[in-house]
Structure formats: structure tokens, C-alpha cells
């Protein structure tokens, strides 16, 4: 649906340009488009282990290069693509230097396919696997702009640069609230790599894929780049307060926040008479959490009386738990003139608990949608317009009609008889 909208918009724009008879100069609205252009940074592992020849008979590096060439050809125009390497330059044994080895192979920006391909062709498997530092740098590469941001990490071995845990790095990047997603691809992964890469992916709401064939790699990277090009609503970062009086006032829209374990978050929404408040909230489990959890969203008056609540509970593997509520405020007829809108306080609490040894800061990401819609919400009868249905209704109506007919007939007969007698 979104795609067709975009296509339709594109066609309209093209038509408009054609009918006007002027071709827009290329740079005319470049500022607008670059500000919201989706950005993708491909982070590729060029460590020594990429020499292993176990993907369709060729080396992992060769497979990655082939996939990259195809991806570069298929990248949509609007996507700004960059390439970053890790472990590409330092062949030595010094761990400290090896763990700083990450470089920008092709800067994030409008894509020059030939240049990018030439750059990719120069890669040779060399050094260490500093995933954490590479992710940090990649996040810097993507800085700025309002479009969606995506890191695609392709690696064949787990991070060799402890104690900097790449999973925690990913969580911290996500906590910056820049709306960045990290997708990970493991080349012929072992259990440890699977764990690490899926942890990185889950920390940012991304996906982990294990790759054993070149075409799988190409398809997946293409899919991820295309996904980055799909326009999505960017949420607005907000910070809820610990009590209603200090809470930020939200209007209709999509918001994100962070909520630590055991914390509560308050927000305020103004609801005029005759409007309906709709709020829903999701709390994402971006790290390992204990298997039982819950989420509570309460709408209260400013004085603390609860109006309505939404609650959810669950257990087992999950990415998020969500709930919502709606509060229709009736139109008041007895009040004259303008009435100040009612302030409704929204309280969000979750009952996730962190699994042992997992860092509790930053808090879990919350996503809050608020809609204040105008219009009636009324019901006067359980049945539609007081109408009935079913055989009992028909029976009752027929019986009543028949009895009424009988009485009426008897009455008129009696009347005629009385008239005749007189």
C-alpha cells in the first residue's frame, strides 16, 4: 500500500513536471530529499577467517563481493548507501591496534555504483573482528538527517575484542533515539556467533539471518536495503515524568521513550468534549528478560481517579508487549460557551525483569501512539436501533397480531349484534 502510494506520488510528480514542460534541475530540491533520504551502512567483516572456502565452493570473501556487486546494482535511487569494513587493514598480532581496525570504504551518500564496486574489489581478508567499534563508527557515519537508518552487519566470526560487548554497544546506539536498526547476517555461523548476532539484532529491532549460500546473501541484503527505502513514520522522542503534574503534554502522533525496570512514566493529553482519546503503548524487550512480563496503561484524571486502563501480560520469547485504551468524552449539553479540554494523565508501567547479569540501563524502549479523534461514540441500545431478529421475534409478532385480530373481530361482531338488537 505504501509502495503504491509512493509510486502514485512519483507518477504525479513526473506528470506535473512534464506538463509544465520544464525539467527540474537536479540540485533544486536536493536539500529536502537528502534530509529525509533513507541511509544504509553495510558493515562487512574482512577478517582473516573470510578466506575460508565454504560458501558454494568459493571463499566467504568472494561470495560477499559477488553479493555486494549485485546489491549495488539493485539499490534504489533514493537510498544513500555507505560501506564500512572491519579488520581490513591491520594484519598484525597486536590486539589493541587490531581492535581499532575499522575504516570507511565508501562514504554514506548518493551512490556511484562504479566507484563503490571498485572499492569493494580491493578488499582482501586480513585482520581482527572488532564488531563493537565498527558499529559505533557506523552509527556516526549515519548521523544526521531524518530518514530511516539501517546498519547491515555481515560477519563470519564473533567479536574478538572483549570486553566491549557489541550487543551492549548496539543497545546504546538504539538508546540514542535516532531510530537506527541493525540487521545482522552470519556467514556459516557457529552457535556463539548466532547468539551474538541475534542479540545485536534484537537490541535494535532488527533481524538476524544465517547465510550459507551466495544467493541467500544477495537476496537478504537486497531485501534489507529495500526495506530501508520504504517510508515509515519516524517517532518523536519524548521523556515522560514520574508524576502527572510534571508530565509532557502530547498531541496526536507517534512517540518513543525509555523506561527502566520498575519505573513509571506519565504523559498528559488534552481531550476536548466530543473527542475520543486513543492511546496504545508497546514496550520492547531489547535484551534478555525473564520469561514473565506485563504492561499496564492507565488513563486517570488529574486528581488520580482512574478512567480506563489497558493491560497485557505474557510469557515466553517476545519482541514487545503492547496494550491500548480508548476514552470517548461525551459532548456536554448543559454547558454554554467554550469548555477547556480535560487533561487526561496516561501512566505506563511495565513488569519486565532483567535476566541475570544483564545491564538495566538504558531503559526498555517504549513506543506510544496517541490519537485524539473527533466524533460521536454513542450507543442507545444493545440491538441495532431497537430492531429484533430471529424466530421468537416473528412468533411473538404473529401471535400478537393474531390475538389483536381476534379481539378486533369479536368486538366488531359484538357491535353489529348490539346495533341490530337496537
Amino acid at each position: 500500500m505504501i509502495r503504491t502510494q509512493r509510486l502514485a506520488a512519483g507518477v504525479c510528480a513526473l506528470l506535473a513536471a512534464l506538463t509544465a514542460g520544464i525539467a527540474f534541475p537536479a540540485g533544486a530540491n536536493a536539500d529536502e530529499t537528502t534530509a529525509t533520504a533513507p541511509k544504509v551502512d553495510l558493515v562487512i567483516d574482512v577478517s582473516g577467517s573470510m578466506r575460508a572456502k565454504d560458501i558454494d565452493g568459493q571463499s566467504r570473501m568472494a561470495a560477499a563481493k559477488q553479493a555486494f556487486n549485485e546489491v549495488l546494482d539493485a539499490t534504489p535511487e533514493e537510498v544513500q548507501l555507505g560501506i564500512r569494513t572491519l579488520g581490513a587493514n591491520y594484519p598484525g598480532d597486536d590486539r589493541k591496534t587490531g581492535c581499532k581496525d575499522t575504516a570507511q570504504l565508501y562514504p554514506v551518500g548518493p551512490l556511484d555504483r562504479t566507484e563503490a564496486k571498485t572499492a569493494v574489489a580491493t578488499l582482501t581478508p586480513t585482520g581482527w573482528t572488532p564488531i563493537g567499534p565498527a558499529l559505533l563508527k557506523a552509527a556516526e557515519d549515519l548521523d544526521g538527517g531524518e530518514g530511516s537508518k539501517r546498519i547491515v552487519l555481515i560477519s563470519d566470526g564473533e567479536d574478538t575484542c572483549a570486553p566491549l560487548d557489541p550487543c551492549e554497544v548496539a543497545r546504546e546506539i538504539a538508546a540514542k533515539g535516532i531510530g537506527l536498526t541493525i540487521d545482522t547476517l552470519g556467514l556459516v555461523p557457529n552457535t556463539k556467533l548466532r547468539q551474538q548476532l541475534s542479540c545485536i539484532a534484537e537490541a535494535t529491532g532488527g533481524t538476524f539471518t544465517s547465510v550459507e549460500h551466495t544467493d541467500e546473501l544477495t537476496d537478504k541484503v537486497n531485501q534489507l536495503v529495500d526495506r530501508a527505502a520504504d517510508p515509515v513514520v519516524t517517532p518523536v522522542a519524548t521523556t515522560g515524568a514520574d508524576q502527572c503534574a510534571k508530565a509532557p503534554t502530547l498531541k496526536s502522533g507517534l512517540y518513543t521513550d525509555r523506561e527502566e525496570f520498575g519505573q513509571q512514566r506519565w504523559y498528559r493529553v488534552d481531550v476536548p468534549d466530543g473527542y475520543e482519546l486513543r492511546a496504545s503503548v508497546s514496550a520492547a524487550a531489547d535484551r534478555e528478560v525473564n520469561p514473565s512480563y506485563g504492561l499496564l496503561l492507565r488513563a486517570t484524571t488529574e486528581r488520580g481517579r482512574e478512567i480506563v486502563r489497558g493491560e497485557a501480560a505474557g510469557n515466553g520469547r517476545t519482541d514487545a508487549i503492547s496494550t491500548g485504551l480508548r476514552y470517548p468524552k461525551a459532548e456536554r449539553e448543559d454547558v454554554e460557551g467554550e469548555v477547556a479540554p480535560e487533561t487526561v494523565c496516561l501512566q505506563v508501567t511495565h513488569s519486565f525483569s532483567a535476566a541475570g547479569g544483564v545491564k538495566t540501563t538504558p531503559g526498555l524502549p517504549l513506543e506510544l501512539t496517541v490519537d485524539v479523534v473527533h466524533g460521536p461514540d454513542a450507543s442507545s441500545d444493545v440491538a441495532a436501533f431497537g430492531l429484533g431478529r430471529g424466530w421468537w421475534l416473528l412468533g411473538a409478532l404473529v401471535l400478537t397480531g393474531f390475538l389483536a385480530g381476534l379481539v378486533w373481530g369479536w368486538l366488531s361482531r359484538w357491535r353489529v349484534a348490539v346495533w341490530r338488537t337496537n
Partner: protein, 267 residues
């Protein structure tokens, strides 16, 4: 004479009364086949791939992904969500699950259907289904009855060994619904269907017509029902007509042929 009249009246009654029952059981049309159905899934509520009822949405994904789709459901429908996951050639036993959420992201209960199912090791595929409750036109804010609007489907593996994480799978989902008709009709309607971001969307429509991303741009093919029509009108109208007929019947029975029988003709 009288007997034939009564008989024909009964026949008429019966014929009329059967009509609404027949109208009740008409299944919802599933005409369009896969035209424009998405071939990939979203990874969150925000990015859920939208499809229409009757379409089959597909996606290639990895074990462990959370896949999201959304579809519209209107008042009087009872949606059934079906999902098929094609699993890789070799894998351990894994448990898959579908969850359905409404436009307020509230989890909606499945009346019946295998919402969670465990595929034995190396099984080729696993099938899941969920039959939702009937979507009502209105309910009290304190109830979590299904209401017209966007419905989200989340498909994921809930129990999987680490060794199977990331393996490629293919997923197919489909939503169809049974038209329940007037039995579920209520006198009431929502201000707007429960489509997330609807307030933002209408505000943007007023101010500028720039095509920007919306949370959910979903709408049934023939628009949202206005809510005033239900087959209760037919039932009640037929009931009224039958009552009138029965009334005439009762009248003729007691009134007779228009003359009191005791009075001799020509008196």
C-alpha cells in the same frame, strides 16, 4: 374456502420468514486473488505490511524474526487468520505462534484454532490458524471487544534452539472472514475506525496533501460500513407484515363473513 385462504397465508408466511435466514449465511466474497499482496513482512507494528482480506501475503524471512502484517476488518465480520510457515530441510523441533492485535495494539483472543503449534524436527511446514471474535460496531471503552479497524498479525517462533536461529523460512498469511450479519449488530458506532494514526492523517489532509508515511493507511475495498444497515431491518419488517396478516386472519376468524350467523339472511 377459508381453509385454502389460511393455507396460502401460512405458505406465504413461511416463504417470507425463510428469506432472512438465507441472507444470514452468505459468506464474504473472496474475489481478488493475490493482486498486490505484499511479498514481505514488517518487523514491528510500525512497519507492518498491509494486505486486504482474501489476499495471501508472503514473506521470506529468518527463523527468529518477528513478522508483522496488518489487514482491515469491519463490523459484522468474524475474521480467520491462517498462516503457513515453510521450514528449512533440517531443523530441530520448534514452536511457532501467531498473535492478533487490534488497532489499539491490544491482543485479541482466538476463539479457536491452533494459534501455537510445535513442528517436529525436520517437518516441512507448520500451519497455524486463529478465529477471532466477531467484530462489533461499538463496545464500551472498558471492554476489549474487537472493533472495526486495523488488525495486526504477528508471526514468530516462540521456542527454538540457538542452532536454528537465522535459518531461512518462508511464511504465508491469509485473512478471511465470515459475515455474521445482524446477530452481532449493535446500535452504535465509533467516531473513526480503530486505525492507528487516523487523527494525524486527517490533520495532514486538511493542511497539505504531501504524501508522507502514515502508521496505517488501511481501508476495506468498499470502505468502512456506516453501521446503520443490518438484517434486523428485514426480520423486523417481515415480522410486522406477518403480524398484520395474522391480525387479518384473526379478524376474519371471529368476525365471520361480515354478518352475524344468528341473524337470518334478509332480516
Amino acid at each position: 374456502m377459508r381453509i385454502t385462504r389460511v393455507l396460502s397465508a401460512t405458505a406465504l408466511m413461511f416463504g417470507l420468514a425463510v428469506a432472512p435466514a438465507v441472507a444470514d449465511s452468505s459468506p464474504s466474497p473472496s474475489a481478488s486473488e493475490d493482486s498486490g499482496a505484499p511479498s514481505q513482512a514488517g518487523t514491528s507494528f510500525r512497519t507492518a505490511a498491509e494486505f486486504e482480506q482474501g489476499q495471501t501475503a508472503t514473506a521470506s524471512a529468518s527463523t527468529g524474526d518477528y513478522l508483522y502484517w496488518s489487514f482491515p476488518a469491519d463490523a459484522g465480520q468474524r475474521p480467520t487468520v491462517k498462516a503457513t510457515v515453510k521450514l528449512p530441510d533440517t531443523h530441530a523441533a520448534e514452536t511457532w505462534q501467531i498473535d492478533v492485535y487490534d488497532g489499539l495494539r491490544r491482543r485479541q483472543a482466538c476463539q479457536y484454532g491452533a494459534q501455537t503449534r510445535t513442528a517436529p524436527a525436520n517437518a516441512a511446514s507448520v500451519e497455524l490458524d486463529c478465529v477471532l471474535r466477531t467484530v462489533r460496531a461499538w463496545s464500551e471503552p472498558w471492554a476489549d471487544d474487537p472493533l472495526p479497524g486495523t488488525y495486526y498479525i504477528r508471526l514468530t517462533v516462540v521456542d527454538v534452539p540457538t542452532s536454528d536461529l537465522g535459518l531461512p523460512v518462508g511464511a504465508e498469511v491469509r485473512a478471511d472472514s465470515k459475515d455474521v450479519g445482524g446477530a452481532a449488530a449493535v446500535d452504535g458506532s465509533l467516531a473513526e475506525p480503530l486505525v492507528p494514526g487516523v487523527a494525524v492523517k486527517s490533520r495532514e489532509d486538511e493542511e497539505s496533501s504531501s504524501a508522507s508515511a502514515v502508521l496505517s493507511s488501511i481501508e476495506p475495498e468498499d470502505g468502512w460500513a456506516s453501521g446503520w444497515w443490518s438484517d434486523r431491518w428485514v426480520w423486523t419488517a417481515i415480522g410486522g407484515a406477518l403480524a398484520a396478516l395474522a391480525g387479518v386472519g384473526g379478524y376474519t376468524l371471529t368476525r365471520g363473513s361480515g354478518r352475524p350467523t344468528r341473524v337470518p339472511p334478509g332480516a
